[in-house]
């Protein structure tokens, strides 16, 4: 019995449906990204405007309320409510990019490719820098983010370099890598147990392990659903925290 683990290219790279080789090559990742726009649109449009919410309206309003309360209000406060559209769209885009990891026939998180996390990290980066410059002015923003108060003058150059790296380079890098690596790791984990199940499915004494492997696979699907939600939450929460840090000199 031999365990044939597929190469990573088979796991994360998908052939283009059309436009192969061009900059608009449309593959599964692009399809999931389009669905991540269409599904929220349909859901929001289906939601009625009753005073007593039912069905889809409950889901939609629950999502909006979750983002408003748990992300915007808890990280920024009432002054951040005008950034709700940005944070809500980040939340939705990340969540739908992730949740296709466990949806049959897709079985692929769009965020296990670096493209979408990079786009979202750039959006977050541009947002917190733009909001910071708008709130404090260019000089004020650079001063508050590069020259933290209370640091001895001798250490200031070093601290400034560290602050510059951590604020302007590590923040977007961390956002993108966190999301990407989480989803890729989850995807590989699911693939590992799926491959194990397939390999064990044969007349052999080793088939006795199959139930455990399968139970693990089922458990991991639940775990990955949770991870999808948490990553969407964490990505929007971190963006909100960075916006909050840009709003005021600290």
């Amino acid at each position: 019995m031999e365990l044939e683990f597929p190469s990573i290219d088979n796991l994360v790279k998908w052939p283009a449906y059309f436009g192969d080789g061009t900059f608009y090559a449309f593959n599964k990742i692009a399809l999931i990204s389009v669905l991540a726009v269409l599904i929220p649109t349909v859901l929001f449009k289906m939601a009625k405007k009753d005073m007593v919410p039912r069905g889809v309206q409950n889901i939609v309003e629950g999502t909006v309320e979750f983002v408003e309360k748990q992300v915007v209000l808890s990280a920024i406060g009432p002054e951040g409510l005008k950034y709700t559209p940005l944070l809500l769209s980040i939340f939705l885009f990340v969540f739908f990019g992730n949740i296709f990891e466990v949806i049959p026939t897709f079985q692929m998180p769009a965020n296990a490719r670096m493209a979408n996390p990079v786009i979202l990290a750039i959006v977050a980066w541009v947002s917190f820098i733009g909001i910071g410059i708008k709130a404090q002015g260019l000089g004020g923003f650079l001063k508050s983010s590069l020259f933290p108060p209370g640091v001895p003058t001798a250490l200031m150059p070093l601290v400034s370099i560290i602050e510059f790296i951590s604020t302007f380079l590590l923040r977007p890098f961390g956002l993108a890598v966190r999301l990407f690596a989480n989803m890729l790791a989850g995807h590989i984990l699911l693939v590992t147990f799926a491959v194990l199940c397939i390999t064990l499915f044969q007349p052999s004494i080793l088939a006795a392990i199959l139930p455990f492997s399968f139970a693990m696979l089922v458990g991991l699907v639940g775990f990955e659903i949770m991870v999808s939600l948490i990553q969407a939450f964490v990505f929007s929460l971190l963006t909100a925290v960075y916006i909050k840090l840009s709003l005021h000199a600290h």
């Binding site: 290219d9 900059f23 608009y24 726009v37 405007k49 309320e65 493209a115």
Partner: protein, 186 residues
Amino acid sequence: MLAQTLMLRFGEDGEELEELVEVAADNPILPVTSELFWGAITFAALFLLVKYVLLPPVQKTMQERADLLRADLDAADAAREKAGSVATEVSDQLADVRAESAQIIDAARAEAEAERARIVGAVEVEVAAAKAEAEAEISAARQRAMAGVGPAVADLAADAASRVMNRPIEAGAARPVVDRLLNSPN
């Protein structure tokens, strides 16, 4: 390898940049141009949709509900306050009524007491008058009876005494003695 590719990226040689593109296509970590393109377009679309089309009506509904809830709560508070004031009013009135009734009862009781005292007094007076009259009548009758009885008893006593002593006793002489005996309280 990432470090190498990054170094290549910041290198100035054009050939190395071409090499970078080939490496990027093989590397499972670096983003692919087409996916970046679609990701950017779809996210921009989602953001614009959420900001201008999808979110405002939902937020409006939620705001309306919050307002409605607040209005209902305010109305409930007002009603509760009103009910409280009505209740205090009622209890005040009740206390008033209770005090008044107690007053009326006290007055009635005092009046009844006075009436009773008056009636009892009148009856007592009447009874006392009747009693006195009866006593007077009794004593008069007694006097009368004594007066009637006295001579007969004196005669009888004198007769009896004369018989005992074998000598005649003057009835007139016995009379004062008999009267004294009769009148003395025995």
